[in-house]
Symmetry: C2
């Protein structure tokens, strides 16, 4: 994949590559959000960002760049936790992650990359372009790299999903002893995202991973399905 | 793999199957903890468990079986959260998960399956047996299926690791722009565990998945490396 620039038609680029690489209906494409964000113009020059009083106050307590703090605040519903320079935010999408998903690595110098405004819509555009090109349903999972509560280290999670069921509901299925399964929801799109992390070097350069041979079901649901509603969450706090 | 019973020599069984299936040095075996727990005798008949007053009190507020509550309490350092029937525990290993990792699905009727006492030691025994049989280093990841704060659905995570580095430290590496990477810790063993979930039906029957072609580094560290210390955790609470 060539370097992606603002305004590039990423769905067409990915569809052409997919067809050339032998992607077939049933495959799932896992796409790092950074190329999506770049194509969608979600790359911001920090020098062009005005930091208001709230951003400057956040910069003072975190030691972060005031312009970066202004972006974090504008991308967040709220700050969920702060300790030192660590800021865990709830984004407008509902994701709970560091710095509202804003990242400066693999970004041009002096810029920051934001999450797509609507990553499920981004996934649907990619899905439609690839499906049309290969002649049948494919899945698309757009990923970001997040930390987790309770556990060290980062994993890729799904921020956008199209063409496949993001969460498999196993209600009514039985185990090998004939008992109804208790753990009934499988976070398929997050499993796909995490698996892609094995093949996407953190230094960049591999924005798309293809998963073949996996049985998936079509679904209109997106990655929003994977967001636990705050009222059902035991850890976010009020 | 035949049905595993208490006292079975699981490392020898897995090593024989691995050799027969063409496992080679460098491969990683991802093993569902249930077969490990079964072989290690961590299957408990609920009728044989005495519920003390604390277990009975927990049963009263959760609606769970008092014997199951006694097991959950004995496997936990503490209860981290409770809402209705949902119990999030911190296990003696440090894992934060529902019901201290105790499960009754795919368990013989009237029994519950506990996590291995020391899943890293279990992983090391499997690792040593398979490595000896195939003539070189392999990796072993022992998994459990956990929920997550903030997100719906379950994913497999690593509860035991041997032979590979569980968390990759990227400090000092640079991105394609030459900037030092900020997100420096990759939870490799959790990525492997999550990937295995794509191939392990929740109804059971596929306890081992082999990952080939992945570059890993040897390490004495286990899954304990993946446990965030409570003092560094922003969500567990005191």
């Amino acid at each position: 994949m060539p370097e992606v620039r603002p305004g590039d038609d990423l769905p067409a680029m990915v569809a052409a590559l997919a067809a050339g690489d032998g992607v077939v209906p049933g495959d799932v494409l896992v796409v790092a959000h950074k190329v999506v964000s770049k194509a969608e113009g979600r790359v911001v020059a920090l020098a062009a960002v005005a930091a208001d009083a709230r951003a400057r106050a956040l910069a003072a307590v975190t030691g972060k760049d005031p312009a970066l703090c202004a972006l974090i605040l504008s991308e967040s519903r709220r700050i969920v936790r702060r300790r030192g320079a660590t800021l865990i935010c709830e984004t407008h999408h509902g994701f709970v992650c560091a710095n509202a998903g804003i990242d400066t690595s693999n970004a041009p110098p002096g810029t920051a990359i934001l999450l797509p405004r609507d990553p499920d819509a981004s996934a649907r555009r990619l899905q439609a372009a690839v499906a049309a090109r290969v002649g049948g349903r494919v899945g698309v999972v757009v990923t970001d790299t997040h930390g987790r509560a309770f556990r060290r280290g980062l994993v890729n999670i799904a921020v956008g999903v199209a063409g496949i069921e993001p969460v498999l509901d196993r209600r009514g299925e039985t185990d090998r002893e004939g008992r109804v399964l208790v753990a009934t929801e499988q976070a398929l799109a997050d499993e796909l995202a995490a698996a892609s992390g094995l093949l996407m070097p953190k230094a960049g350069g591999t924005p798309v991973v293809v998963v073949s041979g996996l049985a998936t079901r079509p679904s209109p649901g997106g990655a929003g399905t994977l967001v636990r509603e705050p009222a059902h969450d035991l850890f976010r706090g009020g």
